[in-house]
């Protein structure tokens, strides 16, 4: 038996084993979804809970179709998307330079880190009253809350990334007498692609939460407003439809950011190959 034949003979059972595991995982997932759906439907029809609070699929699916075909949905969707992206952009514009500063100037980093950590763990939604006093109750307040939420993961991730910038690269920059701006552009930023992308991914998640909660508390447009509106009108199937849509969009946005991070990260000069 040649080496190639031998490795093929070993590889074939391994591949078969992997395929059988994949198949089992798929079966478990399908059965789980079916079971969950069955339990849901049984609960909806059991009469154990108040009528209508757990609506049957027979009601949710038409509500979802109704929602997706209504032009007003897309208006609310754009409002929320715009608020989330503006918030994330503002947060990034502030957090990346500050993160580099806090990471590169060790003493400054140690001065601010207790305060940044304290604010990072606080639920951002309680800042909504201050934000509304500062910028009013319009979309600006939701953008500000999204920016406030996203700022912390980005600044923490960037500052932590700076600690891992190769000392050799820094010394090369110094020996070339680079200005601060050149150091940032040519040494720091190329090494920080991965940490910044990680921060952005986390930041996007919390910006979505910040914006939607702000909309739920007080607003007149956006998906959060729509959810709150259906809740107040007790249109429960539509409430479920909006929440299903929000979750699907949030999971998709997170997966998309993951893909972007993987793609850009693998092109970064410091990426492990």
């Amino acid at each position: 038996m040649t080496a190639v034949e031998r490795s093929a003979a070993v590889a074939a059972p391994a591949r078969a084993a992997r395929q059988s595991v994949e198949r089992r995982v798929l079966v478990i997932r399908i059965v789980t979804i079916a079971l969950l759906a069955g339990c849901w439907e049984a609960l909806a029809r059991s009469g154990l809970l108040y009528q209508g609070v757990v609506p049957s699929f027979v009601l949710i699916v038409p509500a979802l179709i109704d929602l997706l075909t209504a032009p007003m949905l897309y208006r609310h969707l754009w409002v929320t998307t715009g608020e989330v992206l503006s918030g994330l952009a503002i947060a990034t514009a502030l957090a990346v330079p500050l993160g580099i500063l806090f990471g590169a100037r060790r003493f400054l980093g140690r001065v601010v880190s207790p305060y940044v950590n304290a604010l990072a763990t606080t639920p951002k939604i309680v800042f909504l009253p201050i934000v509304m006093l500062l910028v009013g109750i319009g979309p600006e307040s939701k953008i500000a809350l999204g920016a406030l939420s996203a700022f912390f993961p980005v600044v923490l991730s960037t500052a932590a990334g700076v600690q891992h910038v190769s000392l050799v690269h820094l010394n090369v920059g110094r020996s070339f007498n680079l200005t601060i701006w050149q150091m940032v552009r040519k040494i720091y930023l190329p090494s920080l692609v991965q940490p910044i992308l990680t921060g952005l991914r986390l930041g996007l998640g919390v910006a979505i939460i910040g914006v939607l909660l702000g909309e739920i508390k007080l607003s007149n447009a956006g998906l959060g407003f729509l959810a709150n509106d259906y809740y107040n009108l007790y249109r429960i199937p539509h409430l479920y439809a909006v929440l299903i849509l929000i979750f699907a969009l949030a999971v998709a946005a997170n997966a998309l950011m993951g893909l972007v991070a993987k793609k850009l990260g693998s092109q970064a000069p410091d990426a492990p190959r």
């Binding site: 950590n117 763990t121 606080t122 009253p129 939460i209 939607l212 949030a250 997170n254």
Partner: protein, 249 residues
């Protein structure tokens, strides 16, 4: 120690300077007292909140809710994580789902529980438990999966029974990762509990801020927010210190 050497002193000095600037801006009329409360008034307002608005009880309510939700999340999360480790196919099937849930805006489910359970402590507790359980499940599984092979083999060569293998080998080796999960779970529970209290204007600390804003008592509102920041920072610091003790690096 001089200020130039101690980051803590320098930080406190900067904080005091910021407060003084805020105080001066409001006193001089540059910033309206309806937008920014004077820091001196905020400090007084904390005392007033304790005396007249039951801040202590609100704190205890939030704290008790967080502990109850954290304990329930742990009681659910560790066995669930173990099952996902023990039955690998299930672990592989559910892990990416749990990770997606962990990254999704779970807190937005609260209107559903509001409909089912009403505007009550139960809604807050259930939301805290759900958001707290997911990191505990994920970290328990990771901890058990990454127990070094030689440790497992030692258990096998001593002819350990399944239970002995779990309690004497697997669980102790996974404790640091499990604790990381519990720490994250408690922080998530606290953050979501305060957030929901604020949103539904019910319960502990979050309700205080919401009420002060509704009454347009600006210093009281700032005081409530400052208090929440202090509480979450202390919880974070205590848990981080505990974790460093458990995870000797």
């Amino acid at each position: 120690m001089t200020m130039a050497k101690s980051p803590i002193l320098a930080g406190l000095a900067a904080l005091v300077a910021l407060c003084l600037i805020g105080e001066a801006l409001v006193l001089s009329g540059q910033v309206s007292p309806l937008v920014l409360a004077r820091p001196s008034q905020v400090v007084l307002a904390i005392v007033e909140l304790i005396r007249e608005e039951g801040l202590t009880q609100a704190f205890l309510a939030t704290f008790a809710l967080t502990l109850a939700a954290g304990a329930t999340a742990t009681a659910i999360g560790i066995p669930a994580g173990f099952l996902l480790y023990r039955f690998r196919s299930f672990g592989r099937a559910y892990e990416s789902w749990l990770a997606a849930l962990f990254a999704s805006p779970l807190v937005l489910l609260y209107p559903l529980f509001l409909v089912i359970l009403g505007r009550s402590y139960w809604t807050i507790f259930v939301m805290g438990t759900i958001t707290g359980a997911i990191p505990i499940i994920l970290n328990t599984r990771i901890g058990l999966v990454s127990v070094p092979r030689p440790l497992v083999n030692v258990g096998v060569s001593f002819n350990c029974s399944g239970t002995q293998q779990f309690f004497k080998v697997l669980f102790p080796a996974a404790v640091p990762d499990i604790f990381t999960g519990i720490r994250l779970g408690l922080i998530y529970a606290l953050v979501n509990i305060i957030g929901i209290e604020f949103l539904i204007n019910f319960g502990g600390l979050g309700r205080v801020v919401s009420e002060m804003y509704d009454r347009f008592e600006i210093p009281g509102m700032y005081a409530g927010i400052v208090f929440i920041v202090l509480v979450s920072a202390s919880v974070f610091a205590v848990l981080a210190r505990l974790e460093r003790r458990i995870r000797p690096v």
